[in-house]
Every structure is written in C-alpha cells, then in structure tokens.
C-alpha cells in the first residue's frame, strides 16, 4: 500500500506537488493519502519574478485556490506570451512575438497561406493571430465580468515565486491537510533494494514514508545525493550558465504593465523582463565562456538605463546565480521521484521551470501507484515521459538561437551544427519544405506545440519554400477570409479589453467572481 508521501523541500516545486497530491488524494480525510512536507528553516527559496504557462490556471483551480487571492498575494500580472527583441540581427525593429493563442486550425487554413494573404510586411505572429496586437497595447486577457480562471484570450501569469510558495504553504496546511515539518534532513536511509526507508531529521527524529518526492532543488538530496542518479548535461547545446537577477521599480504608479515576458538579446545571452504589479524582475542570462561577470554587469546596466527609471538600479545591484543546463534521465528511482530543479533545469527562456513542475506533479498524482509492487512500472512510464519532455524543451530552446544572424562570438557559436540536437537538425531540414505540423509533435500533452515552433521560426525569418502543388488549405480565398476574421476580432478585442493594469487594480479592490 502507498499511504504516506513525504516531500522534501518547500519551494515552488515542493508546495505545488504537495497541493496537487493532497487535493487529488484527499489528504484532509482519514481515508485519503497522508502528505508530509519537510521544509528546511535555513534554505531560502530561489525566487525571481517568474513566468508561467496557461496550464497554471487549471492547476490552481485543481488545488482550490481562488484566482483573486492568487493575484493579490503573489503580486501576479497577466502574461499572454513572449516577445523577443533583437534575436535575429539586433537591428532596430527586430522583434517578434510568441503568443499563447494558436493560429486558426491548420486543417482549415495553412499558417503560411494565411501569412501570405495578410498585407505585405505584416509579421507572422500578427498575421495569423490577434494576440500580438493585444500585447503591443498592454491589454488584459479578460474583462472584469469574466469569472475566475476563465479567459477571453488565453493567458498565464507572471508571479513572485517566494510569495507563491508562501500562499501554497498556507493553503496546503490550512485547507488540504498537508503536514508541515520545519526541520533539516540530515540523512537519507536507503534499503538494500534501493528504496528509501526514511529520513533522519535534526529535531523530529526519523520520518518514514512509502514514497518520497525530492524537491530539494539543485542539491538533489535524495535522487542525487543518496541514490546517486546521474544528470544528463546539455550545456554543450545550451551554454548559458550565469544569470544576473535584479528588481527594477516602475517609473510611475501608472506605468503600463506589459502583457508578455520580454527577452532582449545582448552580446552573450539575453535579458528577461517580467512585469509584476509594483516592480519588474529583470535578469541577464549569459554564457561565462563568452562574457565575464564585470562585462555582464555593464551590459545589464546599459539595458537598465534604457528601460528603468534613471538611477533606480544598475547591473552592480544584481545577484549572480550560477547554473548548468541539464536534466536527470531517470527522475524516478525506486520510491523517490524528483520534481523541480532536482529533476532538471534549463535556462529560463520560455519559462519551462514551473510548467515542468506542474506536469510532473500531475503525472505523479494521476498515476500514483496504489501499491509498491507496481512502483517500477510507474517509474518507467514517468521517466520515459519526462525524458521526452526535456528533449523537446532543449530542442525548442536551441531553436531560438540557431536562426540568429547576430555577429557576436556567442551567437556565432550557436551556428556550429555539432551542438544541434539530431532531431532538431532533421526538423529544420523538413521545415524548409513545410511548416511545423502536429505530426512533428505527437504527445497528447506536448509542452510546446507546432504553433510555438512556427512563431519562433517565422519570427526569425526562417524560409519555408512555397508549395507549387496547392492543397485545399492553401487556397488564397479562404486565407483572405481568415485574415479578415482575425482583423475584425483584433479590433473587437482591443476596444473591449482594458489595460492590464486596470484589470489588476480591479482585482485588488473588488476581486473577480467565481462564476
């Protein structure tokens, strides 16, 4: 029987996993699962402003947190996608969007036919969908009358990670029946069969459990430390290994709150810019091979001078974070499952961290073995799925770099095809003749669907040959009708949606209704 789950680590990964398991498996009831979370009193949460995917809305509803409370407590703002500045050439006007809304159904109209039917010079994302236009106007994704978690247009959030962990902790312990033990784990007791029998703690003695979840971040106390699982290093593909993170205030209380994460390319990496309610989280992700820390701080200062109020903050104020992109090929070993940074971490481009936590915790919850006899089968299934996802993430992130024409050594190094994943090479070859399709990404819960690849490819000016034999979905007439529809929808949404800041202020003062 599997009855006792012990989660080690109280960051976003630990508390999201606890919340999902406890809500799904009725931890607040005697006949439900027992969920215990051990949180060290001494480990600070690694938290910068973080971006998420729209899946978080379902996850929060699943664990029973109100959206109003979430937005208020986590200083959250609404995210409708990403904007990439200067990734192709760095010239003025070089930017593209990767919005959450997909182009129209490709069975009805081919995205490239649609793009060609739009007025000359329209960027791909603006031709095939209305959401980039909403981002350019800093629009909210819903109205004040839209119920909690419902959307007018698809959206996720920017959030303050430590505040998010605090909200989850309170909700899990007060409402969902999660037992919190504030203590340090000093030893992991491994049995002969490779399963963990219990944890030795400083003040609470030995904690036994049937299944352990390692959410201890980069330390990987159980999966790495005690069980010795190996990490697959992908730093030869994604070479960024440093981040300089800083918080910047808004110039005025009424400054626009951007509707997307903005990633701006610099000489040896890129800067994230994440708008929260009262401040922005900004950070330079770079490769130490191409840039030393002093130079990186200077570049960050130059960026801040362009976008933040004069004198408010500079590169010297930033906190340095070192990392290496990689993931565990076997995040589930015996009765230990790694979720969060203990499972893997790649650079923050495209905000994969929290969505990977959600997907892992949901899969663990949905497939939680009833008995230890089926642990190994569950582990095999989980590991296969996790490896598939990490491979896709690495490929998709790499795609952002390989199409760049920037001259700096960092960007030129990405042109080296020896560091391109094989599958990405094949797909890029294929995409010269046809756009990304769902046949390229066949998982039922694909993190980045074909549309995401199309937004990046055509945002970066990738050329797909024009077909000489036309299919029904290439028909120009139908494409023009879709262009008209998108234009009309765009106009309607721009007039019907308020600014991001106005919606957030409404939520702060009045809240959203649940129905």
């Amino acid at each position: 029987m599997i009855k006792d789950i012990v989660i080690v680590g109280g960051g976003t990964a630990g508390w999201l996993t606890a919340g999902i398991l406890a809500a799904d498996h009725r931890a607040a009831h005697d006949d439900g699962l027992r969920v215990t979370l051990v949180e060290s009193p001494n480990v600070p949460i690694l938290g910068v402003g973080e971006g998420t995917w729209p899946s978080l809305r379902d996850t929060l509803r699943r664990i029973g947190i109100s959206e109003t409370e979430f937005v208020r407590r986590c200083h959250a703002s609404f995210k409708q996608g990403s904007r990439f500045n200067g990734w192709r050439t760095g010239a003025p006007g070089d930017f593209y969007f990767h919005p959450f809304e997909a182009p129209p159904n490709p069975d009805h109209v081919d995205p490239l036919a649609l793009w060609r039917a739009a007025p000359d010079g329209t960027p791909f994302a603006e031709a095939v969908n209305f959401q980039a236009a909403l981002c350019l106007e800093a629009k909210a994704p819903k109205q004040v009358v839209t119920p909690e978690y419902a959307a007018v247009v698809n959206y996720a959030y920017h959030l303050d990670a430590p505040a998010f962990a605090a909200l989850l902790r309170e909700h899990c312990t007060a409402k969902l029946g999660v037992r919190l033990i504030t203590d340090d784990v000093i030893d992991v007791l491994v049995e002969d069969d490779g399963c963990v029998a219990g944890l030795e703690t400083s003040n609470n003695g030995r904690l036994a459990g049937d299944l352990f979840v390692d959410c201890t971040g980069g330390k990987a106390l159980l999966i790495g430390g005690a069980l010795g699982g190996a990490v697959r290093d992908v730093s030869h593909i994604l070479g960024n290994d440093r981040a300089l993170a800083v918080q910047a205030p808004y110039a005025t209380q009424n400054e626009v709150i951007a509707s997307q994460t903005t990633g701006t390319a610099l000489s040896a990496g890129w800067v994230w810019d994440i708008a929260l309610q009262a401040r922005r989280g900004i950070g330079y992700v770079y490769s130490s091979r191409f840039c030393d820390e002093d130079r990186a701080r200077e570049e960050l200062s130059e960026y801040l001078a362009r976008v933040a109020p004069a004198g408010a903050v500079a590169g010297g104020d930033a906190r340095l974070i070192k990392f290496q992109s990689g993931y565990r090929e076997a995040p589930w070993v015996g009765n230990v499952v790694a979720i969060g940074m203990s499972q893997g971490f790649v650079e923050p481009l495209e905000a994969s961290a929290i969505v990977m936590i959600e997907l892992s915790a949901i899969m663990l919850s949905d497939t939680l073995p009833a008995d230890r006899a089926v642990l190994d089968a569950a582990a095999r299934r989980f590991n296969k799925r996790a490896a598939y996802r990490w491979e896709r993430i690495v490929e998709f992130l790499k795609l952002h770099y390989v199409l760049s024409e920037r001259p700096e050594p960092f960007w030129q190094a990405h042109q080296d095809r020896n560091c391109w994943p094989e599958r990405l090479k094949e797909l890029l070859q294929q995409w010269r003749y046809e756009p990304p399709s769902r046949e390229d990404f066949t998982d039922a819960l694909e993190i980045f669907p074909a549309a995401s690849y199309a937004y990046v490819l055509y945002g970066m000016n990738f050329q797909t040959q024009r077909r000489s034999v036309l299919r029904r979905r290439d028909a120009a007439l139908a494409a023009r009708r879709h262009v008209d529809e998108i234009t009309a929808r765009k106009r309607k949404l721009i007039s019907g949606l308020s600014k991001n800041r106005e919606l957030i202020e409404h939520i702060m003062t009045r809240g959203l209704s649940r129905v």
């Binding site: 004040v144 009358v145 409404h506 009045r510 649940r514 129905v515």
Partner: protein, 241 residues
C-alpha cells in the same frame, strides 16, 4: 437621451408626471433592478435573477418581466400593470436619486428627474408642486419611495458580496419552447445555487440570518417558479394574436 436635473419648484413648477404603465411610457423593458427587502413581494409574480455589472464585475438582483430584450409581459392594452405588486424601480420612474453635501460633512439625498422621460409632461398627469410651491401629495409619496430605494441600494453590495463569498450564485440558462413550437434560450443570468444553499453549515446560515438575507435568499429561490408564469403569459399573447 436622458437629461437629469435636480427637481426644484421654480424651474419645474409646471411639470406633471404621467402615471399608469405602458410601452409609450418607457416600460417596455425585460427587467428592472430589485432589492432584497422587496423579494417577498416580488416572488409571487417575477423570477428574481442576478446579472453581472459590466463596469464592476459585481452581481445585482433583477426582477424579470419577459423572456427577451424589450419584452414586458406585465404590460397590456390598458394602462394597468399585470400584477398586484409593482417593483420599486418601476414605480420610481421618471425620478432618480441625487446626492449633495449637506454642509455638515455628510451627503444628503435629493430628488432628481429625467426631463426627457416620456412620463414627463406639462399638460397631463400628476402635478409635482402646489400652487405656491409646496410639494404635492404625489411628490411626497415619491420622496418616500426614493428613500426606500436609496436604503435598498446601499445594501446591494454587501448582499451580493456575501452570496459570492458563500458560493451561492451560479450561472443559469433556460431553454424555452412555446406552444407554437418556437424555441428560445435565456442565458447570461445567474440564480441562487440551491444545492449549495441546502448544504450550508450552521455558521454560514448564521451569517445570512444575522445580515437579514436568509428570507430574501429563500424568496429568490421560490421566485424561480414564476418562469412558468412568464412562459404562460407569453403563450397567452401568442393565442391572443
């Protein structure tokens, strides 16, 4: 367009207000706002539902008179209203509530009037002012009515907020098939969530009770049987046509 003015016995000395009810008097509306303290009187005739305010996102209760925009099934060929109890918000027309400083730091209620309302006349209807400027008995009644509406309006926010907090509001859709076979759908309104209401714990019930909302909530639930009444009225119109 509405043209609002504070009522006074100089500019408006000659004004009269047409009473009675009819489409020509501006009553061809599908609903009017309602107030919890009148739910008991409303429920024998009108379904009480909620709508969401587009500006604030908050809920407010309505009394329904019809099944589609502009339809008021309580109007007939005569100038009578087809029910014993007429909602406050209908009876107050064409008057409005204004507020001004009372000089002591507070706000006082004033009687305003919509001068463009079809009820306003200089030739027929009830006089507002007496010959030397005093309030007519009709205007005195109106003042009392407005005071009642004002009190009701003050409580709407608290009422809706508590219902929302207790999850007592749910979306509502009604598919209607009339005797002539025509079909329609009423959507976009909200009603009291009965399942939730019947499973409230003692503490939640106590809060409704203490706030004086327990009776209105049950009256709103009871009022939903009046959808049958609206459909019957509509079918009757089809026959009479």
């Amino acid at each position: 367009m509405a043209k609002h003015a504070q009522l006074n016995n100089i500019d408006h000395a000659e004004l009269r207000v047409r009473t009675g009810y009819g489409a020509a008097l501006g009553d061809a509306a599908m609903w009017c706002p309602s107030f919890p303290h009148e739910f008991r009187n409303l429920q024998p005739y009108y379904p009480i539902v909620f709508s969401k305010d587009a500006a604030t996102g908050g809920f407010r209760p309505l009394a329904l008179f019809g099944l589609e925009d502009g339809e008021n099934l309580f109007l007939g060929p005569s100038s009578d209203w087809g029910a014993e109890y007429i909602p406050l918000a209908i009876r107050m027309r064409p008057f409005l509530i204004g507020r001004s400083d009372n000089g002591a730091g507070g706000r006082q209620m004033e009687v305003h009037i919509d001068l463009d309302h079809p009820r306003v006349s200089e030739t027929d209807g009830e006089a507002l002012f007496l010959e030397h400027g005093g309030h007519s008995p009709y205007l005195q009644e109106v003042s009392k009515l407005l005071a009642e509406v004002h009190d009701g309006e003050q409580g709407i926010g608290r009422f809706s907020a508590l219902l929302e907090e207790l999850d007592l509001i749910e979306p509502f859709t009604l598919d209607v098939t009339l005797n002539d076979g025509s079909q329609g759908r009423l959507a976009g309104y909200y009603v009291i969530a009965e399942e939730v209401l019947y499973n409230l714990d003692q503490q939640a019930l106590g809060r409704l009770q203490a706030a004086g909302y327990l009776q209105p909530v049950f009256m709103a639930v009871a009022s939903l049987s009046q959808f049958r009444g609206l459909i019957d009225r509509r079918n009757k119109r089809l026959e009479d046509r």
